[in-house]
Each structure stands twice: as structure tokens, then as C-alpha cells.
Subunit: 256 residues, 2 copies
Amino acid sequence: MRNIKLVMQYDGTHYHGWQVQPGTATIQSVLQERIATITGEEISSIAAGRTDAGVHALAQVAAFKTTSRLSCDTLKNALNALLPGDIRITAASDADLSFHPRYDAKGKVYFYIVANMQVLSPFLHNYAWRVPQPLDLQSMCSAANFMHGTHDFTSFRASGCGAKTPIKTIFHSTIERLDSLEFMTAGLSGNFLKLRIEGDGFLRHMVRNIAGTIVEIGKGKISPDMIEKLFIAKDRRLAGPTAPARGLFLERVNYT
Amino acid sequence: MRNIKLVMQYDGTHYHGWQVQPGTATIQSVLQERIATITGEEISSIAAGRTDAGVHALAQVAAFKTTSRLSCDTLKNALNALLPGDIRITAASDADLSFHPRYDAKGKVYFYIVANMQVLSPFLHNYAWRVPQPLDLQSMCSAANFMHGTHDFTSFRASGCGAKTPIKTIFHSTIERLDSLEFMTAGLSGNFLKLRIEGDGFLRHMVRNIAGTIVEIGKGKISPDMIEKLFIAKDRRLAGPTAPARGLFLERVNYT
């Protein structure tokens, strides 16, 4: 028996998230079908982060057990030949049989793209949240700074979140203005803001709730130090709205 | 009566090209439906370039006649509110009643994106042609140079092309390597090559046939000076294959 570790990129637009759901296309179901075609085995796969519908990934980590003797390179190339173009395998390797993509993860990096513009490029409408109002970058950076450290994220937690504890540690939290994205930004005015956040774990909708709150701060509706009050209040109703899924990307999963 | 000039961006992936075709979604049909909703008038629109299915635009120019008294800004905003996110209006203005987007155009700029990589980003699979083989950039630039000037483009013309003459003048023809496209290229190796070509007019499939031929030259299958021979031979069978529509963008239409 082997345990194959995959690194995947996907555009989540046309999928109902990672996890298998009867009657709908999900990343996991499409992946498992293609693996079955190649290996002849009905396998079940595990991912580091069970991304929601519409959420994207640049380096999702998944694993599956197989008795196939195909080389990792052959598996990777066969999968890329069979998978639709919006799901790509960037690496395949043999992992320890005990490797578990989710339990073994030491941390994850997500980023969220806000398009601060009147007209959003037709090439980016599935990859960014358009916010046409003026945004104060300095307040937003200041709010992002308040995220650092270990906090109770109950105010940023979706109802139905199954995590054991709302206490999470944020290692990095930054906002940067993105330069031109070539043809995706040609002829349009405005900025892209990229909120990047690295932590030891994330609650359901946590990054989207943080993004929604930081945009409210950018609009001047909430002051940046409200973040500290939200950690203490533990009340989802006091934070900003949940930013749409389409702007969210799982960037990396760290195992060391 | 007014003649409204629109500048449009669109992602052509989900449309059967510009032109109205019964039973399918086209850019023109979607635009005209939304204009009818706003003005209450059944109008017909004209575009500078009748892009094929899957071809994109950064600044397509269209025009339509209306008796509506709505301001151009109101028209633009109402259209952007009603149109799907893959079609955007970047400008609307009153033009001379005699203005015709196609007949009045003095020239057009197209570009074509080749992804020279093993694995193409899932975010770009509708916007580039993946060519995994090594490509010699110098030969390709040299081939692009041969395009300059006035030539008979019969060897690059699709069957069924209705243009009166195959003689066209190319003002600029360049190939550049694109820098990183932010999250679209993160974690992937390889280059994007952008073939950009400006001319007084283009035949059916001309840019895609030029792109297909220049890629053959990049692979070393044809020598760059074959371009000159193709102008003389006037034989479509001697040039390279037609590059796929998804890599092609109408960048600009010039009226002066």
C-alpha cells in the first residue's frame, strides 16, 4: 500500500467546494473519479483544507492510498491529462503511510483579493470581490496588524463551524497593493488589495469574515482597534459581513 | 436620434462570438437584450471586430442608435449592472450619427498568449494556448519581424473569409515574454509569450494562423524566413495550424 501526496491548484468557480456531495460536482469527487480511471481503484482522498464552494487553491495538499505501481510522475501526468483544465496537479510524491494532510498541517496561508474599482475586469470577476467605495489602506493595514498573535476568533466564526476551539494563532497578516495584472487590468483604473494571513488553523469562514471586517474598516465604518474589541466580545454580529467566496485563495499548507 | 459608442471588455469563453446567432448566446445578443431592457427599444449594434467564439476583447468598440435621453454615464452604469460579469462597458459616449465602428476603423491591435509550460494555471486555461515543447524565442521574434509591411496574407486566411482583398499592412509585430501574473503564475514554472500585432485590417483567423505558424517556427519545424515564402506562395496548407481561439485578445481599435 502507498500513500500518494498531491499538490493541487484549482479554480473553485464551477465546483461546490472540496468535499464530495451527492449530485454535485466537487473537487474531491472529480479527483477521485479520475484516480479510479487511472488506477482501477475506488479510493478516498483527504485534503488539508476543505475549501467552500467558489474558493480557489494554489497549493492544496491532498493524499490517497493506492496499491497502484505507477510512478508519481506518471500519475501526475495522467491526472493532468484527464482532469478538467480548472484543476491541475503540480506535484505528486510518495508520503509516509501515516501522513494525514489535515492533521499533520502546522499552518496554512490564505489570501483574499479585494478589487477597489468601479469596473472589474471580465477576466477577474470570479477571483476578486469588487468594492467600489474609497478604501483607506492605512486603517486596513492597521487592522491587519491587530490580527497577529493568539486570539479567540468567535466573532469571526461561521455558525455551524465544527472546530473544537475558537482559539487560533496568526503568524502573519498583511495587506499589499497589487501591481498591474497584465491584460487583466489593462484599460481599467483602481487597485487590487491582497489580504494575506498565515495561521496555525482557521475556523469556518474565518478569513472571509476577517476580509469583510477589514473592508468595513477601510470604508471608515469601523475603527481598526475594533478588532481587539471583537476578540473580547466573541459575538459574530459585531464583526463585518462575510466577504464572498470568489476572492479567497488557499495559498499554501505548511508541514514544518 | 443618437449614436452611442461603447468601449467593451469581455471574456469570450462562454459566448459563440460577437455576432447574433439564433439559439446561442453571443456578445451582441446579450448586449442588445440589456440595451432593450434599459431603453425599451429593440436596437441593433455594430462592432469594430466580429470576434469568433472564445476570443476575448480588452477594448472592443460597438455602436447603436437610440432615441433614449439617458446620459452616457447612466447608460454605462445601467448596462454594467445588468450585464453578466464577463462583459463590461468601460466607456460610453455620444458619437457622430455617421460613426461606424468597423468602416471607420483605421487599424486594430490583437495579441495572442502562448503559455510555454508543462502545467498551465487553472486560472488561465481559457486565456492562453499551452505549448509544452521548448520554444526558441529568437526565431519567433525574427518571424514576427517578417510580418511588418504590406503583404498578401492568403496563406494565413481561413476558408470562408469574406474580405475583399488579402492584402493587409502590418504596422507593428512583436513578441515579448510576460512577467509573473501574480496568483495566476504562482508555483508554476515556464513563460508566457505575448505576440502582439497591429495592422490596418485582419482576415478571418489571420492572427491565429500567424500565431500557429510562429509557434511552429519556435519549435524549429519551420525556419523564420518561411514567412516571406508564405506571402509569395499564397497557400494556406503551407503555413502552421490555426492556434486555438482562447489565446486571442482584441486589444484596441484605432480611429486616427
